[in-house]
């Protein structure tokens, strides 16, 4: 004889675990922490090796030099470079009450990066059952991203730049974690056809999430890379080429880019 089992909602006593409420509280914590941030900008490409982190760091410095408080969240958890690029060294992060104070880099840029937390030369590794690592590793990284957003005392910022790793998954996680609207997107490409193809996939994913694409930064221009990816992407997506960064850019390159953001 089949058991007569009622539904979850038929049982009216409290759900002590309250997992949806706990997840909701996490989202609320992200929203509260970012309440003082004027705009979150995801620096993305979909392609590795195009200089996203380099662009992010120098753009942040240019914004800071213009007196605009700026933060950098290094979302490349497995290949973190922001601390090095921004000269933050290896100072300990101070835990104060319910938050961690961000490190301070060159020109006063506030930042957090796995670079600051890991042993020298060691990869990001989590404790847990090794045999099933593929099941939980992605969830752990998403949790780390959430904590970088929610648990760092970002304070009042004009811009928070999120330096994304290659690929699309971290952007999707970021869009899921942030309160609406999704982050604005600044995309970085090099001139080549291969870069264009990877970047256009990333931009389509961003647009599918409802993100505003601010424009294209074409990096490593005049360095021997052939192609017109910057112009082609701008035309295809109806967005401007905000900057063409030469192989050896000077401060004026970054200042011009900062003026537009």
């Amino acid at each position: 004889m089949p058991l007569n089992i009622r539904t979850y909602h038929d049982l009216t006593d409290a759900d002590v675990s309250g997992l949806p409420e706990q997840i909701g509280a996490q989202r609320g914590r992200v929203a509260a922490r970012l309440a003082g941030v004027g705009r979150v900008i995801a620096v993305m490409s979909g392609k590795g090796g195009v200089g996203k982190s380099f662009v992010t760091a120098h753009l942040a410095r240019a914004l800071a030099r213009r007196g605009r408080p700026v933060g950098v969240l290094d979302a490349d958890l497995n290949g973190p470079t922001a601390a090095g690029l921004l000269g933050a060294g290896r100072a300990a992060l101070v835990v104060e009450d319910d938050a961690v104070l961000p490190a301070t880099g060159t020109d006063g840029v506030r930042l957090v990066s796995m670079d600051l937390l890991l042993e020298d030369g060691r990869p990001l590794a989590f404790r847990g059952p090794a045999a099933d690592r593929f099941v939980w590793r992605g969830a752990m990284e998403a949790a780390a991203l959430r904590e970088f957003l929610a648990d760092v005392a970002w304070g009042k910022l004009d811009r928070l730049l999120v330096d994304l790793p290659p690929g699309l998954s971290r952007f999707e996680e970021l869009a899921d974690l942030l309160p609406a609207p999704p982050p604005a997107v600044l995309t970085v490409t090099i001139p080549t056809l291969e870069s264009r193809e990877a970047v256009r996939r990333a931009l389509r994913a961003a647009l599918a999430r409802g993100a505003e694409v601010l424009g294209v930064v074409e990096n490593m221009v005049g360095s021997g890379f052939a192609g017109n990816a910057g112009d082609a992407l701008a035309a295809e997506f109806g967005v401007p080429v905000l900057a063409r960064i030469p192989w050896h850019p000077g401060p004026d390159s970054w200042d011009r880019l900062a003026e537009q953001l």
């Binding site: 006593d13 002590v16 675990s17 997840i23 961690v100 937390l117 847990g128 969830a139």
Partner: protein
């Protein structure tokens, strides 16, 4: 999640959480009518999945610590990555550590040690416990759901 005593058709009450070893997380529920107790056991992978969500089975009884998941689970974190600020030092003033508890705390990786120390000290303070001992640490670990700490 809710547990139903099918025989009594009554929702069971959360009883306690336990960490019996080998990565198992146990959550026990009791039927308020017949008194039957059942325990849900998660295997190590399932325990890890729960931990990765930053949630606590049986409910969160401890305020979330900053970078709690990162500090509690990263195996390659450097010992000097964090420095406890002075802002809430007063909240654990008056709580002392037995030599055995200090020795045990010393075995905790430096990356997470500051957070673990704060959690145990606050647990002691909230309950009027003057001295942190290994026995108290065991009780707190189970009661607070400090999987992996």
């Amino acid at each position: 999640m809710k547990f139903l005593c099918v025989e009594c058709d009554r929702q069971m009450s959360f009883e306690e959480r336990a960490l019996p070893g080998d990565g198992t997380l146990a959550a026990a529920f009791r039927c308020p009518k017949c008194g039957r107790v059942v325990a849900m056991l998660t295997n190590p992978m399932e325990t890890q999945l729960v931990a990765s969500l930053g949630v606590k089975i049986g409910g969160r009884t401890l305020e979330e610590q900053p970078l709690e998941t990162i500090r509690g689970t990263v195996a390659t974190g450097r010992a000097e990555a964090f420095e406890e600020g002075t802002g809430d030092a007063g909240r654990t003033a008056g709580v002392t550590w037995s030599a055995e508890a200090q020795e045990r705390l010393g075995r905790v990786p430096g990356f997470v040690r500051g957070m673990v120390k704060k959690i145990y000290a606050e647990y002691a303070r909230d309950r009027g416990i003057a001295v942190v001992t290994p026995a108290m640490m065991d009780t707190a670990r189970t009661e607070l759901g400090l999987e992996g700490m």
